[in-house]
């Protein structure tokens, strides 16, 4: 494998890790606040469809992004109502959101565009294009560092940079600010927050709202940057992989980045090498495609270390003496 191939695989890793990372951080906010969210998948899907649809109709990708975020946020509020206000079961609410999104997106797509449940292909301003960072051209002649800068770091869409900047921002917010302290506390011991005179409900809604926004960006990225339009079930389980990454990362932002990059790398390798010839036998492409999902199962089954979720996670808060 030559250097350029390696760079291309890593470049692909970054692009594939981005939606995972955004969804993973979305889940991190929600679950750190004590609201388990297995509806990441559904929210991403809804965001993907609405961003693609609005971008296709208006021809403006930013409108599309806004629509995607709005759709995801709406589903977040549904989840919040069910699990915070009405103290329902958070898992069931999440499952319902996944089904709802899977069905509604295709139905509306068919109704609006009549293209078999997909949106028209996005062109021009309807997509997020790659951004060439300043100096990428000039530096490309420099050995090693030049190609790394030009290929790997430069040339992604704006959403990729947003996703990666969200990591330090999340860390800072969680561990250096009053909001973060309260958010973490509400996921661990909501009664402590309540007796301290801070509203548990407000905090959790804010967390779920942030989750919705990040999921919205993730979905919009899928449909308007990674690909050019919405197709049925295009999230392909990325929401669940993001959840696995979140557990793998033990609900910590920097580790979430590493976990998502790992999953991204696996996907990139599967995309790049269809059949890997190891000499003795050939690893079939199906296995490579399945690898991220297999890893997800392994992680969720708890084989990788002991991950302790936020203590109040999954439990609606009921005030008691």
């Amino acid at each position: 494998m030559d250097f350029l191939t390696l760079l291309q695989v890593l470049d692909s890793t970054v692009r594939l890790a981005t939606p995972l990372l955004l969804a993973c951080l979305a889940g991190l906010f929600s679950e750190r606040a004590g609201v388990f969210d297995i509806g990441l998948e559904g929210k991403m899907l809804a965001a993907a469809f609405f961003s693609a649809a609005i971008a296709a109709i208006t021809g403006d990708v930013w409108m599309g992004l806004g629509a995607g975020i709005a759709a995801s946020l709406a589903l977040s509020i549904v989840h919040g109502l069910a699990s915070i206000t009405f103290r329902g079961n958070q898992l069931i609410s999440g499952v319902a959101i996944n089904f709802l999104a899977a069905g509604l997106t295709v139905l509306i797509a068919q109704d609006w565009f009549s293209q078999g449940g997909r949106t028209p292909s996005l062109i021009g301003q309807g997509r997020f294009g790659p951004i060439t960072l300043p100096g990428a051209e000039a530096l490309s002649g420099v050995p090693v560092l030049g190609p790394i800068y030009a290929e790997l770091i430069s040339g992604h869409s704006i959403l990729v940079y947003i996703a990666f900047l969200t990591v330090p921002l999340t860390w800072w917010l969680l561990f250096r600010t009053r909001f973060g302290l309260r958010l973490r506390a509400v996921g661990e011991a909501p009664e402590a927050v309540d007796t301290a005179g801070v509203s548990v409900v407000t905090l959790r809604y804010v967390a779920v709202g942030i989750c919705g926004i990040l999921c919205g960006i993730a979905g919009a990225y899928l449909a308007t940057a990674l690909q050019a339009g919405f197709v049925k079930d295009m999230t392909a389980g990325r929401g669940f992989i993001a959840l696995a990454a979140l557990i793998f990362a033990k609900w910590r932002p920097w580790y979430a980045l590493y976990a998502c990059l790992l999953f991204g790398l696996l996907q990139a390798v599967a995309l790049r090498y269809q059949n890997i010839d190891l000499g003795a036998f050939v690893v079939p492409v199906q296995f490579m495609d399945a690898l991220p999902y297999i890893l997800t199962v392994v992680i969720l089954a708890g084989f990788v270390g002991k991950a302790i979720p936020p203590r109040a996670g999954g439990e609606p808060y009921v005030k008691e003496r």
Partner: protein, 682 residues
């Protein structure tokens, strides 16, 4: 309102507004009236006790004060100013701090983070954390509230966690501190330290409301005490002018026998012999480290210890639901500790009855009815089978008869177990186990969450069983209970039995040290400066021992401010040497005085103690307070009245004569209300 008039006239006299005044507070939950027209006034700079049985409405009242509930009617005055408390934030603003029975701490946060949570100064944490660090240091010096600010809360002992709760309140500048059942989870040493802290706080002019159902704490710590019964405030009296029997009577509404009427044991042959019992749990932790003891027919062996030192595991092994190695013999015959015949059924077949420590999880199936619960464990008894089916009619009839004999209220076998109060639930379990006529009764925490009236009954039943010649193994974290019921006492610490004592030859202090893993030989071997080993150090050790992984005894925390009032261990040894004899004398005298049933015993011994007792150890020695000794539950406790800053006894005209018959406190006829909450304090 007549109360208001009374208050005003009092203000004229003392010129001090009440720190808290409640007027006519009522609160109902559906048909249940939790608080009925409650009026109370708490003087600033005092410790005011609120005592009452489970479900009397103490916690509801305090929750109203802390903004958790909104009262249906009534007014709250803080320092004479009418105050609305719609939420906790408002309570905090009004200067009220609350230490809940179940701590409201974030377990994986540091102490500092917990303290600032909700009281941060700005959007960034760092300035708040730095400020809190300084404030905590200052508070630690002022009030003996030492806690490592950077420690993670879950690594702290329960006593230290409670200090964090107090610090949280003080950091919010609370000057009224409410403590809800603060000593339920503490070792005796930790409880002593807590009361020293409260004394310090009172000396600084803070007002403290202490909610408890423990009469002794009320007598030891408070200046004034209010009694609640069935949602009503039945009386407010000065602590110095009442006694435990009187308070108990006001709590329960009838005369209560506080001490257990029991003859000396007539032990016979050993029935239960345990040798070198070892248990290693799933995580590989050795829970029982080679335990040996025996229980003879006709005696009660009490096992004392702080919760989590192996008592539960011992009960599980003997009860047949944990495997162990070693040898257990029942009437000389070995029983199976690991094999197929090591389960509850086989144990019962061998004559071992078991009243588990946790009746909610191990003793009862809460949603099932009382009659169903009363047959579990004995449901294979051929006597109640009819063919392949169970003879439910017979079982129900038997259950009804047992409930009648054990005075279970309401006597309805069809009611689900969870709908009985804690005391009645415990009676159901006891009835099931005792009435099968076992040879051995294992009984764990028989009176946890049980009200006074039921405690009396349960203790009588246990003693009755002993007198019938049964062997009884009693596990309890309540030292009072151990001391008053047991014929012999074994103390467990860290999976071992630290020693055996006779109740008449020991005292709380000695047992407290044993519970912390300190035997006499240990303290003699202390490597660092044994002679200067202060009582506080010992106490720290005791508190450290509380943590889940008991530390070696030699490890003591050095805490600033505590070394100041150290007495040499020699002096303490002298005290200990002097005490047992005197203690025993009290005991005998008390036993004679209290012997007749249905008679309130007045303080029997009024001997001045030569040494001050640790729990009311005030820093200023020149202020010698009146000390008296009262017998409670068969042993004597030393009580110090008054406080350094408290108003002297005779200057206050208030609340002296107003016990139950207080004219300004309207007393409504109480409706009996079913305790739906089980053990939870209402």
């Amino acid at each position: 309102m007549s109360t208001a008039v009374a208050e005003e006239s009092e203000i004229d006299v003392t010129q001090v507004a009440s720190a808290i005044e409640l007027k006519g507070i009522s609160k109902a939950f559906g048909p249940v009236q939790a608080n009925k027209n409650i009026s109370i006034s708490v003087k600033p700079g005092t410790i005011h006790g609120i005592i009452g049985e489970n479900g009397a409405g103490k916690s509801t009242l305090m929750s109203i004060l802390y903004g958790f509930y909104k009262a249906d009617s009534g007014e709250i005055f803080i320092h004479g100013k009418k105050t609305e408390i719609p939420d906790s934030q408002a309570a905090i603003r009004a200067g009220i701090g609350m230490v809940f029975q179940h701590f409201k701490l974030v377990q994986n946060f540091t102490v500092l983070e917990n303290v600032i949570l909700g009281a941060e100064d700005g959007p960034l944490l760092r300035p708040s954390l730095n400020k809190a660090r300084g404030v905590l240091k200052q508070l630690a010096e002022e009030y003996e509230l030492n806690v490592d600010p950077d420690a993670i809360v879950e690594n702290l002992s329960v006593g230290h966690q409670q200090r964090v709760e107090i610090l949280k309140a003080l950091y919010r500048q609370a000057d009224i501190l409410i403590l809800d059942e603060p000593t339920g989870v503490l070792t005796p040493a930790e409880a002593d330290h807590l009361f020293r802290i409260l004394d310090n706080l009172r000396a600084e002019g803070k007002t403290i409301i202490l909610i408890t159902h423990k009469l002794r704490e009320i007598m030891n710590a408070t200046d004034t005490v209010s009694v609640m019964r069935r949602g009503e405030m039945t009386a407010t009296v000065k602590t110095s002018e009442t006694n435990p029997e009187r308070l108990a009577e006001m709590m329960v509404g009838r005369k209560v026998l506080l001490h257990i009427d029991k003859q000396p044991a007539q032990p016979k042959d050993p029935v239960l012999e345990v040798e070198n019992l070892r248990l290693i749990d799933d995580k590989g932790v050795e829970r029982l480290k080679g335990i040996s003891f025996h229980v003879r027919a006709g005696e009660i062996l009490g096992i004392a210890g702080v919760a989590g030192n192996g008592q539960s595991d011992l009960m599980h092994v003997l009860g047949g639901y944990a495997n162990a190695t070693g040898s257990v013999r029942v009437k000389g015959q070995e029983i199976d500790l690991t094999g197929a015949h090591s389960d509850g059924q086989s144990r019962r077949a061998r004559g071992i009855a078991h009243v588990p420590e946790d009746r909610h999880r191990e003793g009862l199936i809460m949603p099932f009815s009382a009659w169903e619960n009363m047959i579990f464990g004995y449901h294979r008894d051929p006597a109640i089978q009819s063919g392949p089916l169970m003879n439910n009619a017979a079982i129900k009839a038997e259950a009804a008869a047992k409930m009648d004999r054990f005075d279970v209220r309401p006597p309805n076998p069809k009611l689900a177990a969870r709908n009985f109060s804690g005391g009645n639930q415990q009676k159901i379990v006891l009835a099931r186990e005792i009435e099968r006529n076992p040879d051995i009764l294992l009984v764990g925490q028989p009176t946890r969450g049980v009200d006074i009236g039921a405690i009396e009954f349960i203790h009588q039943q246990i003693v009755r069983l002993r007198d019938e010649g049964k062997a009884i193994l009693l596990v309890s974290v309540e030292l009072d209970e151990i001391l008053s019921l047991s014929d012999r006492i074994a103390v467990m610490f860290d999976g071992q039995i630290m020693g055996e004592r006779l109740p008449e030859e020991t005292n709380e202090k000695e047992l407290g040290l044993l519970m912390a893993g300190i035997t006499d030989t240990d303290s003699a071997k202390m490597p660092e400066a044994p002679m200067a080993f202060s009582e506080d150090d010992l106490q720290e050790v005791a508190e450290n021992a509380e943590s889940s992984h008991p530390e070696p005894v030699t490890e003591t925390e050095t805490e600033t401010g505590e070394t100041a009032e150290a007495d040499p261990i020699e002096a303490q040894d002298d005290t200990e040497a002097a005490e047992p004899a005197e203690e025993a004398a009290h005991l005998e005298k008390a036993a004679q005085d209290d012997a007749p049933v249905e008679e309130i015993s007045t303080p029997s011994a009024e001997a001045p103690e030569p040494e001050d007792v640790p729990q009311t150890d005030v820093p200023a020695p020149e202020e010698k307070k009146p000390v008296e000794s009262v017998s409670i539950g068969g042993f004597s406790a030393t009580i110090q009245q008054g406080a350094p800053s408290a108003v002297t006894a005779n200057t206050k005209p208030k609340e002296e004569q107003d016990t139950e018959a207080a004219p300004q406190q309207p007393v409504f006829k109480s409706r009996a209300r079913p305790n739906k909450e089980g053990d939870k304090d209402g």
